[in-house]
């Protein structure tokens, strides 16, 4: 009796198991392109960089294993410390500047008013220009004689003679910040705009009836409901700033008195100017660690992944 019952069950089990296996294979197939790309362009390079970072690796000649030597070297490297602190300073200032402008812009272009799509386009336009291209453009704009800013400043009597905006740190740094904000703000604005638009309008209306003013609605509704979007925008902005290179390389070549050497610029110098590829690799791995840590902290601060 039990045999006759058991047989069909077992028979039914097999095709089902096979079907499940098929489905799993299918799933693997779907993610395969992404897995392959990530492996080739991220995992393997990172592993190779880790491998290199344990060596004294000249451009030509035989690499030699030095263990953690490159990592211990960093602690006494004052130029690396300077690059780190400059990058931190730049990241804080740039991020604050970008958000301080992107938020008002997003609020401005959120409402359906006349010509709003034109505004959105204008604010977003610089984003499509590459950072290197933008830097070159601004080098020209900031040129003492043939540029745009210096003659204008002189015309309005702000400066007596034509000022070279990129000659001193105190002028060059703000110029670069303005350029970066001009270049990036449209992107951050669009991200924030999607967050703003995902807030149902009845919520805002309910809050109006509840007597919440403009600022209170922003503080108690908009900001908390945009937490995820804010996290995204913040991480993108911070990551971008920590990895800053083009603008310093192109606009000031490391700046007056080498005061604008960012971490990536320093890594570049170590690797491709001094040809200490091993040390450069170690620095890159440390930078990767810093970025991961920063992102984790930001996600935690904004409590993303908490329930809605």
């Amino acid at each position: 009796m039990s045999m006759t019952i058991a047989t069909p069950v077992a028979a039914a089990e097999k095709p089902r198991r096979r079907a499940r296996k098929n489905r799993q294979l299918q799933g693997l197939l779907y993610i395969a392109p992404a897995v392959i790309l990530v492996t080739i362009f991220f995992v393997i390079p990172v592993l190779f960089t880790v491998w290199m970072s344990f060596h004294n690796w000249p451009l030509l000649g035989q690499p030699s294993w030095i263990g953690l030597g490159n990592y211990t070297r960093m602690f006494s490297d004052t130029r690396f410390a300077a690059a780190l602190s400059f990058t931190a300073y730049y990241t804080v200032i740039a991020t604050i500047a970008i958000f301080a402008l992107a938020f008002p812009l997003a609020l401005f272009v959120q409402n359906e008013r006349r010509g709003v799509s034109a505004y959105r386009t204008i604010f977003f336009m610089p984003v499509v220009v590459g950072l290197a291209t933008a830097s070159l453009l601004w080098v020209w704009l900031a040129n003492v004689d043939s540029g745009l800013f210096s003659p204008i400043l002189r015309m309005f009597g702000v400066t007596g003679r034509s000022a070279n905006l990129l000659a001193t740190f105190n002028n060059a740094f703000p110029t670069i910040i303005v350029m970066v904000v001009w270049k990036i703000v449209g992107f951050t604005m669009i991200i924030l705009l999607t967050g703003l638009q995902s807030i149902p309008s009845d919520l805002i209306e309910a809050a109006r009836i509840d007597g919440a003013g403009r600022w209170q609605r922003f503080r108690f509704l908009t900001l908390p409901l945009m937490r995820r979007t804010l996290a995204l925008a913040l991480i993108l902005s911070v990551t971008g700033s920590v990895l800053a290179f083009d603008q310093f390389y192109i606009m000031t070549s490391g700046g007056p008195q080498n005061r604008m050497i960012s971490v990536v610029y320093y890594i570049f110098n170590q690797s491709f100017v001094s040809f200490q590829l091993g040390y450069g690799s170690a620095l890159s791995i440390v930078l990767l660690g810093i970025l991961v840590a920063l992102s984790v902290v930001q996600l935690w601060l904004l409590r993303v992944g908490d329930d809605k």
Binding site: P200, L203, I209, D210, G211, A212, D307
Partner: protein
């Protein structure tokens, strides 16, 4: 807890650009009255309610609440509270904070917020839910919280925009009864928008029937049902829909399907075309009433307790009859039906009700 306040609309208009949506509404609402706006989709019910709430600008006209002109006031200063169809609960706040948000914005002392939130939670029986987030509540519970948020503010006027339309049929009935109980307990003025006529009939002290941004009729549920001012109201209120039959005015009555029906008064010049309206539930099977006619039953639907008969008159016009007797009428056959002439409404070619 009675701070009932009346409300008045004077020539209230709304247009979006060149499109006029609401055309000069005049309406008086007495203190403590339960007023229901009904009408087909797109007739401007929500727009009117949102203008009262202050969420939509009034293009022209005046709105006053409790004798105070509020036309240009901020929503929070009008003494109103609104319950939205989508509930519009703040998703990131606990139920407690949702209820207390308005008071917090008004800088109410913490202790008082606590008392009022607890009181409202008690009325709506949502005390065990106070620490939850809206996402962790069922539809019915969310609806209670939304109503609770309105109660906490102690408004003069409650505004509801189709508050029950997202609930299933059973819950709808129980929430409807709940809202009626609430109105009785609080005694506030309430304005309620719906396109469900059962909700309208059961809840309202006064029904306002709207069409295309105009008021078609204002009256108690009984007035609107028994004495509709025009063909639109007659057809909109009542289910199944009133039968409309093409007839001709005659001396002391009308001609319909080759037969003269006496009404005891003259409608118009004999020969004028009229529309005769008879509700399905006012037609009886059998020759008992004064106005008797015979119909051909095409088919019928049995709903338990009632039976709808789909029939045709001698001249081919179709007619629905609601039959509530126990005896089953089998389809396919000629039967005699009758109806009380006092229940018959007659409308002119322009749709206005004639007589009386």
């Amino acid at each position: 807890m009675t701070n009932a306040t009346g409300m008045a609309l004077r020539q209230v208009r709304k247009s979006y650009g060149a499109t006029n949506v609401v055309h000069g509404i005049d309406l008086d609402v007495a203190a403590g009255e339960f007023v229901v706006f009904v009408g087909p989709s797109g007739c401007g019910k929500s727009t009117l309610l949102r203008m009262i709430a202050g969420l939509e600008e009034v293009t022209d006209g005046e709105i006053s609440i409790g004798g105070r002109d509020v036309t240009d006031l901020d929503p929070s200063q009008r003494g109103i509270a609104m319950v939205f169809q989508s509930y519009a609960l703040y998703p990131h706040m606990s139920v407690r904070d949702n209820l207390g948000f308005g008071l917090k914005m008004a800088n109410t002392p913490k202790a008082e917020i606590e008392t009022r939130v607890t009181a409202a939670a008690k009325i709506l029986k949502i005390e065990p839910l106070l620490e939850r987030r809206p996402g962790q509540l069922s539809g019915g519970q969310r609806q209670r919280v939304a109503i609770g948020r309105a109660i906490v503010r102690k408004p003069d006027v409650f505004l509801f925009d189709e508050p029950l339309s997202n609930l299933d049929a059973e819950l709808r009935v129980s929430m409807r009864i709940e809202i009626a109980r609430l109105h009785k307990e609080l005694g506030n003025t309430m304005i309620y928008v719906t396109h469900d006529q059962t909700e309208a009939m059961t809840l309202a002290d006064k029904i306002v029937v709207l069409r295309d941004g105009r008021i078609e009729q204002v009256g108690t549920p009984r007035e609107v049902y028994e004495h509709p001012d025009n063909i639109f109201v007659a057809g909109f209120i009542g289910s199944p829909k009133m039968n409309f039959l093409a007839g001709v005015a005659a001396n002391d009555g009308f001609d319909l399907a080759g037969k003269t029906f006496p009404l005891g008064y003259s409608l118009a010049e004999p020969g004028t075309p009229v529309t005769v309206g008879i509700r399905p539930e006012h037609i009886e099977v059998g020759p008992s009433g004064a106005a008797t006619f015979s119909v051909e039953v095409d088919f019928s639907e049995y709903l338990g307790g009632t039976q709808y008969l789909y029939a045709t008159l001698a001249d081919g016009q179709s007619l629905v009859i609601e039959h509530r007797e126990n005896t089953e009428i089998l389809g396919d056959g000629s039967i005699t039906v009758s109806c009380d002439p006092g229940r018959i409404e007659v409308f002119s070619a322009t749709g206005r009700r004639m007589r009386r």
